[in-house]
């Protein structure tokens, strides 16, 4: 190395990739202002509007019969969609991560499909298949089975939209972990099911919990697909997000924002638990997060 280079004083202390103070302040400032304007302010507004007429008005929004039925339906939908996608997600990621087969890439692409399709289109697909004028419509009508504008349609649409969450999280995680531990368990005499319960499941538990959390948040908050198949029948086929819209359209702002605050609260709790999981089990989740 030339001595001229070595004797020149460093322009700045610290790493070569560090920017000057002014640039740093500017960048951080822009980020903070943007977040405040587009995330924090709306969130605060939701709660301010919800409590605009005090506690009693706020609580009244939930005691009303339609609101309670919307809460029940949302919980029911999530209670079906989340376990379904949990089981499906584990099976799909197991198949993709631990076996070699033809059409594997196609399967992975298909699992991703709901992420790339607009939720409204997802809902329309179900209307076109199960609706009165749809593919299976006449048959369903003849057997007195109603799917569209009823609870089954809402559940189906929610399942479709939340389909990728668990699988997308687990596939890279399982791929990274490989099959050696399962093989070890089998050579030690464990049955396939025993090996799955005692080796595979514990290895993916935190990634699984993380993905279920995200899946649940989406299942409860889904609007577009559910809106198309629901028919907006108050007290029957309204989920929480749909209920918010209806109240808002009726200029019932307090009730609308009160119900919205419930969803916002759900989002905050999800965010909190998600951060806790990421902080505590970052290594086990990271493999999955990289896949997104």
């Amino acid at each position: 190395m030339s001595s001229a280079l070595a004797t020149r004083p460093p322009a700045r202390a610290g790493s070569v990739v560090t920017e000057g103070l002014a640039v740093r302040a500017l960048l951080i400032g822009i980020a903070v202002v943007f977040l405040a304007l587009f995330l924090v302010l709306p969130l605060v507004t939701v709660f301010i509007q919800a409590f605009a007429k005090g506690w009693s008005a706020y609580l009244a929004a939930f005691t009303e019969a339609d609101a309670r039925s919307a809460i029940r339906l949302t919980l029911l939908t999530a209670a079906i969609a989340v376990p379904f996608n949990l089981v499906f997600g584990i099976m799909a990621s197991w198949a993709v991560a631990k076996f070699e087969f033809r059409g594997k890439n196609l399967l992975v692409t298909l699992i991703d499909l709901p992420f790339s399709v607009s939720p409204v289109v997802s809902g329309l697909i179900y209307v076109l298949v199960f609706g009165a004028q749809g593919l299976l419509g006449p048959w369903l009508l003849a057997h007195d089975i109603q799917i569209i504008f009823a609870v089954p349609g809402i559940v189906l649409a929610t399942i479709f939209v939340t389909f990728p969450f668990v699988a997308r999280q687990l596939i890279p995680l399982m791929q990274e972990q490989g099959t050696a531990e399962e093989e070890a368990a089998l050579t030690l005499g464990a049955s396939g099911w025993h090996a799955f319960r005692t080796v595979t499941l514990p290895n993916i538990r935190w990634g699984l919990l993380y993905s279920v959390l995200l899946c649940n948040a989406r299942a409860m908050g889904e609007f577009g697909a559910v809106s198309v198949v629901s028919g907006h029948i108050r007290g029957l086929t309204n989920t929480l997000p749909l209920h918010v819209e209806i109240l808002y359209n009726e200029y019932n702002f307090v009730a609308s924002f009160a119900v919205a605050s419930l969803l916002a609260g759900l989002a905050l709790v999800t965010l909190l638990v998600k951060s806790l999981l990421e902080w505590r089990f970052s290594a086990e989740i990271a493999a999955g997060a990289r896949g997104h």
Partner: protein, 348 residues
Amino acid sequence: MGSSTAIRVEGLSKTFDTAAVLHDLSLDVRAGELLALLGPSGSGKTTLLRIIAGLDFPDRGRIIFGADDATRVPVQERAVGFVFQHYALFKHMSVAENIAYGLNARKRADRPAKAEIKRRVGDLLDLIKLSGFADRYPSQLSGGQRQRIALARALAVEPRVLLLDEPFGALDAQVRKDLRRWLREIHDRTGQTTIFVTHDQDEALELSDRVAVLSKGRLEQIGTPDEVQENPVSSTVLKFLGDTIEVEAIAQGSEVRVNGRLTPVKAPPGLVGPVKLYARPWQLQFAEPGQAHLEGHVRSSYRSQGRQRIEVDRPEGKTVVVEASDTHRLAAGRPVGLTINAGYVFKD
């Protein structure tokens, strides 16, 4: 050593996608022996081990355990202990839970009592000299310790045969040496029939009772370390077991000539005409140019572990390494002759 056959491999063939990895491979494993499967990567040695374990299945051929055909027996029922290159310990279980896994996985009727399992785990921890480590987790252990735990876990189910897939491959040199000696001790003490896969000749020759040399999915030779070193059946085996110098030669009767000069090497019956003579670096000796089998110029020399290694450039452009105990150093560029004292002759 008992010479009864513990495992018989008969005519094994296996193809992955379109690449054949095993061709009609047969070999016998004797009860109580420590057998090394030695071969370069891609020789099919790991596939053979996995087929014996039941982790892979052959396209053709049979695996016979004792008197029973085990070819289609699922891995759980084969009673094999398998040790993986990267340990494959259960990360979320303690050392004791790892070792007890196989016993706990048994059906209730066959499962030993809790106290009995605890005693067996304790005995195994003593055997691998990790008695105080029962409650540790794999992430708190070094690579060598993990591999010992993996071995104890495999031994816990009292397997018929212990299978080790490159057991020391992921460890650094010093730990590897210690573990080799330690594995030999364990084997001597337990008398467990053991097969291990390695691509390291030293490891195979030092550890095993017999070595099976594999190449391109075929068994080249099986024998004691002495047998395969003294009487290699092919140039493949010879080359794989150590450094060789390859020389064009002419066989006539049993006589072998290099550059027209007679060598002390005898050609096997039936081998006549142009042949290849292979010599180890220590089977050559320096001589005056003009009176030797080979000639060349010293390129460089270095000393390692009490031996002098001299690189000699030969006129045809090949460089050979000669090993000598000579303490005098040969200057670079100096013309030298090389006399062949011993070697092996093959057609190719």
